[in-house]
Amino acid sequence: MISYILRRTLAAVILLLVVSAVTFAIFFVLPRLAGQTADQLAQQYIGKSPSKADIVAVKHNLGLDQPVYVQYWHFIKGIVSGATYDLGPTTVHCDAPCFGYSFKTHQAVWPQLTSRMPVTLSLALGAAVLWLVSGVAIGVVSALKPRSFFDRTFMGVALAGVSLPMFFTGNLAILLFTYQWPIFGRTYVPLTENPAQWANTLIPAWCSLALLYSAIYARLTRSGMLETMNEDYIRTARAKGLRERKVVVRHGLRAALTPIITVFGMDLGLLLGGAVITETVFSLHGIGQYAVQAIDDNDLPPILGVTLLAAFFVVIANLLVDLLYAAADPRVRLS
């Protein structure tokens, strides 16, 4: 078990290195192939009509005057051991993990990520609970009574949920529930400050996001359940005289859960790296919003920071999923 986790961790570190290297390459190498010079790149971070000296100075400050592999090395070194920046009248030390400074605003990336993490966590976890519970519940009930009125209705709703884009559902939810009937708050309040307000302002976002995802989970659960409920061991369980509820939950659902856990791990991991559209629609200052801004500004360090964070969460979520497999399905053994 422990050696399994160690091996997976090592693989994760290598994966993160590859992801950061690819991001670096996309940022630097592709535009160069298209003929962009380091001067032109640096110029994007200076105001109007920069002098030659300005460009040289900015290039130097941002490290753009060095070969790409050296810049990459400095970036990785910063994450492990921190970095020191000499900007203006003060020398700033950036502790590990140092994800560097924004090319545009010169503000450190890591504090931005950590201050935005609670928002993204709140959004993703709240929505995840909602969609998992509702999705699985709907799936189970639909599977037990296939082709019933309930099944048809909910599968129809589920299909609508997965088809409607967030910028539609989200904006509609805002329009209806914060303006037309002002039931929910408009501006995010941290959980630590006022838990009731926190939940109140997040409910429209949670519901919109859950609507999008629960459809997939309902359908997955439904098909999984339909399959397992026809297995021999279910018939055996029933023949033993077990109560139907026990048969469904202990025997049927447990076996059908494996693929759902897999998908859930991936989905949650991705969301923790920033629910880009949801955060934009609901004006939440999360990781996703930061990523959009960074891409807008062509600002490498925040882009790298968000990419690595997202990759990290996906890797961790997958590791957890694999561990959960063993718990959920006795046939799986980690070694």
Binding site: Q36, Q40, P50, V58, G88, H106, H285
Partner: protein, 591 residues
């Protein structure tokens, strides 16, 4: 200000605002009276009232004014910003030497002393400018503001561009020795830049390389707002800005929110402009653009960007007469135009350029841009809200729909029957693409075949249209462009886009590569001319010369449609800040 966010940098806001609005051709003009009755009870004025007077004029104190922005500003640091709305807003906590008097439309272009006691006194034929500060000026911590702090503010904002890189650098260009001085972060000498003198604590003298009669405009930039050297932490100063204005920062969260409260050490006796009305000012950043519109219509917020409402909201407010009464449709001090590459064959021949001028159906372009609400058809380089504008139409056609016969005649005079060329537009600006498409259709009818090339706006000037070598090699004859003045004068508007001596190899804004000796001379002459009327008449001449040379095709005078929240006081749309409301004295109306 380059129309700033507006123009080059991040005018995605404007772009989004115009998406899909092509179908919404409802003109928003109706009669409106000056509303200066001092009533402050959430009254509704007539449409465009804030372009003609101050709406809800009031001295009522208290409450919270909330601003919302769908973007993030480049910086709240007065020495590190170039966005028009930050030039406007920063005056609440950073007082420049001069500023604009809050006033409707072009009246808002009037310069008045702010930190300075009176306008600059020119000597040496306009090469030396002396300002006296008001007495009794204090920072938020109660320490005295001196002219040395103004000098330091100019030095840090213009000469340390590797650190504070986002603002313009006019002082670096115009001050004596500006090209040598390394800035206060590298040059630690107590003397600093020798061409800014501070003989005593209330006097500051600027020595310029050349006569510059619009220097008062230059010192209206937030770059002249005082910064105490001891408190300057470079890039981190934005987190601890020391206020010289009527408000100070209570909290600042980068990219998220800023909260300002009254500055107790600000003294109304030193300040004839600010009223310090609300108790608190909140700026929420990165708010969904649709949400901003709803909050503005609900009277809960003001759109800080001032780029106008979204297309959906536009349809909503223009079809409802009650809502329409609370809108302002105003010029943004900007021109939407298409530059013609004067260095590329066959457009190096003026007749070929004239063919393009005649061929374009400007109404189709206007429609593509979103209709009359988003801009009037343009026929001059200078927009109507910039001094020097004189109505003219060198290439007049019936109903502005273009004149194919004259276009073909010009083409013949140029020795061509057809031309193949490329036209560039910014890929992330749908209305610019639509306008370019309309132009392509107009040109096709006379035998000019233009192919659309799209590039991202972030690199449009550094890598593509703004690189003369690129344009000339890639057969780019036509380039879509928008321009707003850095300060509301002919020079502020024209110099960057027409001066032949300002063509740079990258980041160029004179896209036409227009280099006419008489225009260059006239620009230099204008800026050395002290008399306003005479100077403005030179700008008119330059405008005419440019049109005669067909260096660019004016398409529309850009307009914004602002929703005016009824719950706030002292709302006046000013030409000095791209048609935005003047943010200096907005307060909360009594409910």
């Amino acid at each position: 200000m380059e129309g700033i966010p507006p123009i080059m940098r991040r005018s995605a806001l404007a772009a989004i605002a115009a998406i899909g609005s092509a179908t919404l051709l409802v003109a928003g003009c109706s009669k409106a009276d000056d509303n200066k009755d001092g009533n402050s009870g959430g009254s509704s004025a007539a449409a465009n009232a804030a372009t003609k007077g101050v709406v809800n004029a009031s001295d009522k104190k208290g409450g919270t004014v909330t601003y919302e922005l769908s973007d993030v500003p480049d910086s709240f640091d007065p020495g590190n910003t170039y966005y028009a709305y930050m030039y406007n807003f920063s005056r609440l906590y950073a007082r420049p030497l001069m500023t604009f008097e809050p006033g409707p439309g072009s009246k808002g272009n009037t310069l008045v002393p702010d930190l300075a006691a009176s306008k600059g006194v020119p000597s040496d034929g306009g090469k030396t400018w002396t300002y006296k500060l008001r007495s009794g000026l204090k920072y938020q911590d109660g320490t005295a503001i001196t002219s040395k702090d103004v000098k330091y503010a100019v030095e840090r904002s213009n000469f340390a561009r590797d650190v504070l890189s986002l603002g313009p650098n006019y002082f670096q260009q115009f001050l004596v020795g500006g090209d040598k001085y390394k800035g206060p972060y590298k040059d630690k000498s107590a003397k600093g830049l020798s061409s800014i003198e501070t003989p005593d604590d209330t006097t500051i003298v600027f020595h310029l390389k050349q006569a510059f009669q619009e220097f008062d405009y230059l010192v209206s930039a937030p770059q002249t707002a005082p910064v105490p050297q001891a408190k300057d932490t470079g890039v981190d100063y934005v987190k601890n800005i020391v206020s010289s204005g009527s408000y100070q920062f209570q909290s600042y969260q980068d990219g998220k929110q800023a909260v300002l409260v009254r500055n107790k050490n600000w003294d109304a006796k030193t300040d004839p402009l600010r009223k310090q009305l609300p108790d608190k000012i909140v700026v929420n950043l990165k708010v969904n653009a649709e949400t901003i519109d709803k909050d503005v219509l609900a009277g809960d917020a003001i759109d800080l960007g001032g780029t106008g409402v979204q297309a959906a909201t536009q349809a909503q407010v223009l079809t409802d007469s009650a809502k329409k009464a609370n809108t302002d449709n105003t010029y943004g001090g900007r021109l939407v135009y298409m530059a013609i590459n004067t260095k590329l064959k066959p457009f190096d021949n003026v007749a070929c350029r004239k063919a393009v001028e005649y061929a374009i159906d400007k109404v189709s372009v206007q429609t593509a841009e979103g209709g009359p609400i988003r801009g009037d058809v343009a026929t001059t380089v200078l927009p109507p809200d910039i001094p020097g504008y004189t109505k003219a139409d060198v290439y007049a056609s019936t109903g502005n729909k273009g004149d194919a016969a004259k276009a073909k005649a010009q083409l013949k005079a140029c020795g061509k029957t057809s031309i193949n060329t490329n036209i560039t537009a910014r890929s992330d600006r749908p209305q610019e693409i639509d306008a370019a498409t309309a132009i392509i259709n107009s040109l096709k009818a006379v035998g000019i075949n233009a192919t659309l090339k799209q590039y991202p706006s972030g690199k449009y000037f550094t890598d593509y249209a703004g690189v003369p070598n690129f344009a000339n090699k890639q057969n780019v004859g036509l380039m879509m462009m928008q321009w707003g003045a850095d300060w509301p004068s002919g020079y502020g508007f024209l110099q960057q886009i027409l001066n032949g001596q300002a063509i740079s190899q990258s980041g160029n804004t004179n896209l036409s590569q227009y280099d006419n000796k008489s225009v260059n001379t006239l620009l230099a002459k204008a800026i050395g001319t002290q008399d306003d009327t005479e100077r403005n008449s030179i700008y008119t001449q330059i405008d005419k010369q440019t049109m005669d040379d067909a260096a660019l095709v004016p398409l529309t005078y850009f307009k914004v449609l602002l929703a005016r929240p009824t719950t706030f006081t002292n709302l006046v749309s000013t030409a000095a800040f791209s048609g935005q409301y003047d943010y200096l004295n907005i307060g909360v109306a009594s409910k």
